[in-house]
């Protein structure tokens, strides 16, 4: 565990991608099986055991040290795992110091422990680790491991270990299981490439780069095909047959998480298609009476834990397909996009399923025409579905399907965001790298009659600013605190005091959870208006007007 913990510790301080790769490759090279396999699983998010709630961790520590000392420390450090790792009594931990638990042991013991004995098991493990080990274990078990190294980077490091490419790894990844003995054996040239015989595997998704109008001007419109960028969730459907003849149907999220369980309506639809095996990319949307609903509606289905019959009836799920990756055993990913598109069109037509249709292409000859379509999707072919359009996608006609985010092939050109000027009302300390900064900001808009105007909170933003701006915001919050509630500070706000933030967002939904009745989508801080008096910030009516416009269209 200690070797893995020091890798994690070093990774989270290391900004350079190359250095991160080197640290990981070095770890894989110098750590024995099966420990390195579990390390890989932890880095790629493939470990599974019962997670501990922060409350449990807190209870463990306050039964060991003075609660006042804990609170003072937590307030200073800002991160629970780190506070507890630092505070854990050392006398006890010296007991296991000669034989610190290996990562394999830790994973095994956590997997075996039930809910009741988890606190005891966790305490014993913490006793046997040094500070870095305790910190890493607590990060793992509270599911808060953010170390700035993506799963993709870990796979690149593996590829470097065996002189392969990251895509070689991606191709077989979803058929492999921790501790990946076969994978390491292949990378070290001791055994042939692992055969994955999953009949319905996930194929790592191809992603698009964001593009601006100026960058677009450099490209030739004739090289590209355009589609609407749908505001739903990107999914991949994979269907195949086991040797026994049983059909396997899986619905994956963009990152390969199996979400079939939440969408029995779609699984049933795919089961009935007249095909034995295929995998396709598409957008999961809610479609009522032939019209695609806005993201707000989809979110209401996603928010429900229990998939009831009434939920299925009220929020019928739909797949709008845009790519075909394999068909009846043939891998289509090496074909140019236009050819795959042709195959997809035939596929959807022959399928004849009401819940599956084709994402239409946008007719354009110049970038100006495309810009006009992006401004007004309703009259450029999207019709009533326009509320679920959040921009356009551009795909190079000749592009083969490359996992990851390859350069120059696919672009997303999002609709311009909306902006409002809001007033900072509350701030909360962030997590991970930002745990000692006030970095989560609640902002509000003016509401009421002019005489008795008051600010009503409308949303929260925690990104969009530079590190330098974050430092200034943090200082502002600390020097303008009017009240403290645990980790939250109320920041002075009113007609004559307060800081105006220009908030960019992608849309609005009606919301019962917000006091204002409106929820913004994807709010972020666009600019800090140090110059603007708070009395001149926007009013809630501005957001309500957007909401009405949205509802009128759908």
């Amino acid at each position: 565990m200690n070797r893995f913990a020091s890798l994690l510790d070093r990774l989270q301080h290391e900004p350079s991608r190359l250095a991160k790769l080197r640290l990981m490759t070095d770890y894989f090279r110098t750590t024995a099986d099966p420990d390195r396999g579990y390390g890989l699983a932890a880095l790629t998010g493939a470990l599974s055991f019962k997670y501990a709630k922060p409350g449990l961790v807190k209870a463990l520590i306050v039964s060991r040290i003075d609660p006042v000392l804990f609170e003072l420390s937590y307030d200073y450090v800002g991160d629970l795992s780190e506070t507890v790792a630092l505070l854990w009594p050392v006398e006890a931990s010296a007991r296991g110091a000669d034989h610190p638990a290996s990562l394999t042991e830790v994973v095994r013991r956590l997997a075996e422990s039930g809910k009741i004995d988890l606190p005891r098991v966790l305490a014993e493990l913490l006793d046997g680790l040094d500070e870095t080990g305790r910190w890493a274990l607590l990060k793992l078990i509270t599911g808060a491991m953010r170390i700035g190294a993506s799963a993709r980077l870990a796979k690149q490091a593996l590829a470097d270990l065996g002189g392969k490419s990251a895509n070689d790894i991606e191709d077989i990844w979803h058929g492999l299981k921790p501790p990946y003995l076969d994978l390491f054996a292949w990378l070290e040239g001791r055994e042939p490439r692992p055969v994955t015989n999953d009949p319905a595997p996930f194929s790592p998704a191809m992603l698009a780069h964001a593009i601006t109008e100026e960058e677009l001007a450099e490209l030739n419109p004739h090289d590209f095909r355009a589609e609407w960028k749908w505001d739903g969730i990107r999914v991949q459907a994979a269907v195949g047959e086991r040797r026994s003849g049983d059909k396997i149907i899986r619905l994956f999220s963009r990152t390969g998480e199996d979400i079939s369980g939440a969408f029995p309506d779609l699984v049933a639809m795919f089961a009935e298609l007249p095909y034995r095996a295929f995998s396709l990319d598409g957008e999961l949307l809610i479609r009522r009476d032939g019209v695609v609903q806005s993201f707000g509606v989809l979110q209401q289905r996603l928010n429900r834990k229990k998939v009831s019959a009434s939920l299925l009836a009220e929020y019928p799920a739909h797949i709008r397909a845009y790519d075909l990756l394999s068909f009846e055993g043939e891998d289509l990913r090496a074909l140019p996009f236009v050819e795959r598109r042709g195959r997809l069109e035939t596929f959807v037509a022959r399928a004849g399923a009401a819940r599956l249709d084709l994402s239409p292409q946008i007719d354009f000859a110049t970038w100006d025409r495309l810009a006009a379509a992006r401004r007004d999707p309703a009259s450029a072919g999207a019709g009533a579905d326009a509320t679920a359009v959040e921009g356009v996608m551009l795909k190079r006609a000749e592009s083969i399907y490359v996992p990851g985010r390859p350069k120059g092939l696919w672009y997303k050109w999002k609709r311009d965001p909306f902006t409002i000027d809001a007033v900072l009302m509350y701030a909360q300390r962030g997590h991970g790298k930002r745990s000692s900064f006030y970095s989560d900001f609640t902002f509000g808009l003016w509401q009421g009659q002019t005489e008795r105007d008051e600010l009503v909170p409308v949303g929260k933003a925690y990104f969009g600013f530079t590190d330098e701006e974050l430092r200034r915001l943090d200082r502002y919050v600390r020097t303008n605190t009017s009240e403290r509630y645990g980790p939250v500070r109320e920041v002075a706000h009113g007609k004559d005091e307060g800081l105006v933030l220009e908030i960019a967002f992608d849309g609005v939904n009606r919301s019962g959870r917000h006091k204002s009745g409106v929820a913004m989508r994807f709010p972020r801080i666009n600019r800090i208006r140090w110059d603007k008096p708070s009395r001149e910030a926007d009013r809630l009516e501005t957001l309500e007007a957007l909401l009405k416009e949205d509802e009128r269209m759908s």
């Binding site: 989270q12 301080h13 006042v68 003072l72 420390s73 630092l86 500070e131 000692s436």
Partner: protein, 336 residues
């Protein structure tokens, strides 16, 4: 009955009325006793300064020979009579020349410890425990999250990084007085025998250590020495992220300080390789020391006083924070 503390807090700093002198005052005073040469404790411009030979020498190096009208050397253990009290200096283990000040009067003993640590340090005399009625402690790391690692283990981390990144220069930020020289000595103890390269700001004080007979091995100037790939370069903390650092080969940025214990602090200052090496007592050492002095009154000068005061009140000791501002620079993270 409460024993006399001999101390009062004045705007100039901690004042001993019975002896009419100040300890580590922030402003010019007629008579100052200085615990050690860090700039927040040792300031120029007093009429008369009493301190150890090394502290006076460091002050002269920093501020020039005219740093005070009159300077008087006090040896460790030597007893002085000042006014109505007896005063003596004892090693604090913090940096070269650092001293605790023992004040004795009828029926009472007070120790002002200045900055101190209990960990062995090859560059200075070890901390000496003095029994007293009133103990005046710093609390730079006065929270139980501060437990400094074993310094040798931290040096091992630095050496491991050098092995993994032999093509990168390793830039280690360290306070110019005390920490930098201790790091070199620790590296030598670990058998590291390559030259250690110094930023210009560290040269004067490091030379002084060498003249005092502390073996630091092969030390060279970083200026003009090329990109120093695979070498260790010591510099003041702020220089790590300076333009100055850009001339080195893809530098690994490191900082040796007790603050590096808290990860967010290290990341916030862009440090890739934090080394938890401190010249201050950590939480455990603060608690042990305070208990071992047998004091019945505890005064906490600067740092994170709340936890320490809470802890010792619970143990039946009359503990009180002094809320003294203006101290703690030597371990403070970079100024923003």
């Amino acid at each position: 009955m409460q024993a006399a503390t001999f101390l009062a807090l004045r705007p100039q700093g901690l004042y001993c009325e019975a002896g009419d002198f100040y300890i580590d005052p922030l402003r010019s005073v007629p008579r100052a006793l200085i615990t050690h040469g860090h700039s927040d404790h040792a300031r120029a411009g007093h009429d008369k300064v009493l301190a150890t030979r090394d502290t006076l020498a460091v002050m002269a190096l920093r501020y020039g020979a005219e740093f005070a009208h009159e300077a008087q050397v006090v040896e460790y253990g030597e007893e002085l009579r000042i006014g109505d009290v007896a005063v003596s200096l004892h090693p604090a283990g913090h940096v070269l020349g650092s001293a605790q000040i023992l004040i004795r009067g009828p029926g009472a003993r007070t120790v002002v410890s200045g900055d101190y640590k209990r960990e062995p340090d090859p560059t200075c005399a070890p901390f000496e425990l003095i029994a007293c009625d009133t103990f005046v402690s710093e609390a730079t790391f006065g929270l139980p999250v501060f437990r400094h690692s074993n310094a040798a283990g931290e040096i091992e981390k630095l050496l491991a990084s050098l092995r993994l990144f032999p093509e990168r220069a390793h830039l280690v930020g360290a306070y110019t007085f005390g920490k930098a020289q201790r790091l070199i000595a620790l590296l030598r103890q670990k058998g590291y025998d390559r030259p250690v390269f110094l930023h210009g700001a560290l040269e004067k004080l490091t030379d002084y250590y060498v003249r005092r007979g502390i073996a630091l091995g092969d030390i060279r100037k970083a200026a003009g020495a090329g990109d120093l790939a695979g070498e260790i370069v010591l510099c003041p903390p702020t220089a790590v992220s300076d333009i100055w650092s850009r001339k080195f080969a893809d530098p690994v940025t490191s900082f040796a300080s007790g603050w590096m214990r808290v990860r967010a602090r290290a990341r916030q200052s862009g440090i890739e390789l934090p080394l938890v090496i401190s010249d201050h007592a950590d939480w455990d050492a603060l608690c042990t020391t305070i208990s071992e002095t047998g004091c019945s009154k505890l005064l906490v000068t600067h740092g994170e006083a709340d936890a320490l005061v809470h802890c010792f009140k619970n143990r039946g000791i009359d503990a009180e924070p002094l809320h003294m501002l203006g101290y703690g620079e030597d371990e403070a993270p970079e100024e923003t």
